[in-house]
Amino acid sequence: MTPGLLGTLALAATLLFSVLGLGLSVLAALLRDRRYLEAARRFAPLSLIGALAAFGALEWALLTNDFSVAYVADNHSLEDPLWVTLVTPWAALAGSILLWGTLQTLYTSLVSARAGQSLDVWRAPIALATLFAIQVFFFGVMSLVVHPFDPVANPPADGRGPNPLLQNHWMMAVHPVLMYLGFVGLSVPFAYAVAAMVARRYQSWIFETRWWTLVAWGFLTAAIFAGKWWSYEILGWGGYWAWDPVENASIIPWFLATAFLHTAQVQERKGLFKGWNFAFITLAFAATVFGTFLTRSGVIQSVHAFADGPVGTVFLGFLLLTLLVGFGLLSKVGSELREAGEVRWVSREGALLAGALFFGTFAFVVVLGTLWPLVIEAVLGAKVSVGAPFFNQVSVPLGVFMLLLMGIGPVLPWRQATSEVVRNLIAMGSALGVGVLIGLLLSLTPGVALAIGLFAYNLTAVGLMVGQGIRERSRALGISRFQAFLALAGQNRRRFGSHLVHLGIALAALAIAFSQTYRFTEQKTLNVGGTWQTHGLEARLLSVGVRQEGNRVAVIAPLEVRALNRDGWASSGRYETRLNFYTQMGGQPIATPVVKYSPYNDYYFVLEEFDREKGSWATLKIIVTPMVLWLWIAGAIVVLGTLYILWPGTVGAPARSALPQT
């Protein structure tokens, strides 16, 4: 048995299991016979085992340097460190699809475990059929289009190794997996939506689907923040988000899933927006396929782009099929949907719907902005670019409205506004005004002043709600305020967690406003021993040296930095700026910036160029960005808030949501 053979067999077996699972689920749905459902369920763990075997075979091939497998020959080399070898399965196209398919079988198995219990027997076969169909697609693609175990006729003695950019940072082991967990996770809500529409049960699906969506959303959020930090750490330009088409591809499903999470809450509580929720979740899942299409088709230039070839067309077909199924079903059952009432705009449901409207709009803008250059080229033959400056500008008004709604929504009651609500709104409005005023008095730009105001406003909103809950509880139960706080946090985790998430988002918005507005970049060439004074700091170049490190050579230029005044606060220290040369890259070096994090400014030192004859000078770049650290803290708060909601114990508590909330 060779890894290649095991992998090929395992892929074929998984495809077979998926086809059988699909067939049996369809039979169960058509014949309304539970026996077929039970049989279909067995194929979920079987396909998981098959997929894991295939994935294990790829790792096996990599670990044993089996260069007779094309994937290994193309993406692995003898010099790779162990951790790089272990993460190489998702360093290129075929392996990444295998990871995707494997995670899909994992989610299918989790859903299958619930079939017949919380997922009732009417919906279960259809949900499973949908998930099995997705599995058939992925394992079909692997069997027919991009086979991860294609053999090489004449195995080379050593392979090319993965793209050096991917082995330059340990985030390679984290970010892609989180991203796939999020992307693939959205297939479950889609399957539940399809099941609800086919089984014509339009209300009962929403609670559990919201939970699944939150799981996927949490992974997606973590992945997006991790990716931002990764690019900040290694790309060497001091930014964290470039509106690259593939970054856009990750944010589009995030927007749509966020919209769904909010309107689903209204459906759960009030039975409204049924049609919307079907549409939003279909779009969110379709957006993940769209993202895959963008990354793997080569239609769009991007630093993330993987490959071009037939796989793009295949994904485009799958995308169309997804949309057709989702919207086809929706148009079929649309006339049956009954809403439990009407929307009042000045109420929580109104604010949630308006919020969803903005999230949807943002997704629309990002899709259009990403595709517009293609459209123009196809229609007019002209070449245009739509890039970061555009997206940054349109994000401002959209972001401001979203942040305003984020504060108002939870404060407004479900029905009509009361006098207490009006008092709260006045307090929040004052916080907004004071924040903006402070910002302007500190002579910050109007945009940043507004960001401070919006942060104060959201902080006030959360503070008011938590404070109110504490007061009411401590009065009613006669306990201390602190006990009341603990009780509140422990008992209504969904609400409390969402406060945390909102706080994190408000903080992220503040950090983004500061760091995007006040980034300072400067480049200068220094002789060894020379000094450079800029932005409140003084940097001295100590030497330019070279060091052999495993499969790379590093040119290292250490800097001695000391702070001169407030602008350079916390910048003092010794920084080893470096350029890494990998054999595979020829002469093209990879800059590895050194970042000094601080709560005020981040200092970012990059070695750009050096004297290649004598090592007597080096060209350095210094980037100073305020408040970036808070963006990572904000990301952690959002993820923790999500975890807080999802932590076992709150799941399966739909009854509680009928009680009045804090």
Partner: protein
């Protein structure tokens, strides 16, 4: 001094061995650049890159573009004049901030278009629902009754156990 500084020959050799001749020489250091150069370069496309701006990319042409920007700034040209210079050479395509006219005007209007579109769909959705609610719920379609009856039979019992 934590770093070893090998003799000049060893220095060249260590890198030369790995990366070959491409590495060997560079005549003069790149120019010093101010933050304003980067602010302008960030809005210009690197013509040969995969979606990177002239501020981020290290391709030769981007290095050259940054040098040109620095030179023109030193000559006292404004940001608009410098951008116009690049547009003249490469066309509007070089601008990551697409012009607010012609074919790229639509993209600037996209937030309003999106909001309008979604709002319109929402409005139609709501008004349909209202109509349907007025049609009274007493009337249950025949197929729905049939479906309910079929479902009342229930799923067949699990004979496995």
């Amino acid at each position: 001094m934590s770093l070893r500084r090998p003799a000049l020959l060893g220095w060249m050799l260590a890198i030369g061995l790995l990366v070959g001749l491409a590495f060997a020489q560079n005549s003069s250091p790149p120019p010093d650049l101010s933050s304003r150069v980067y602010d302008i370069a960030r809005e210009l496309r690197c013509p040969v890159c995969q979606g990177e701006s002239a501020a981020e990319s290290n391709a030769d042409i981007s290095v050259e573009m940054r040098r040109i920007i620095a030179e023109q700034l030193a000559q006292g040209k404004s940001e608009a004049q410098i951008k116009a210079y690049f547009v003249q050479r490469y066309g509007d395509w070089i601008l990551y901030d697409p012009p607010r006219h012609g074919a790229t005007l639509w993209i600037w209007l996209s937030p309003l278009l999106g909001l309008g579109l979604l709002g319109w769909v929402l409005w139609r959705y709501q008004s349909r629902l209202r109509q349907r609610a007025q049609m009274a719920s007493a009337e249950v379609p025949e197929e729905e009754i049939q479906r309910l009856e079929a479902e009342l039979e229930g799923p067949k019992p699990n004979t496995d156990r």
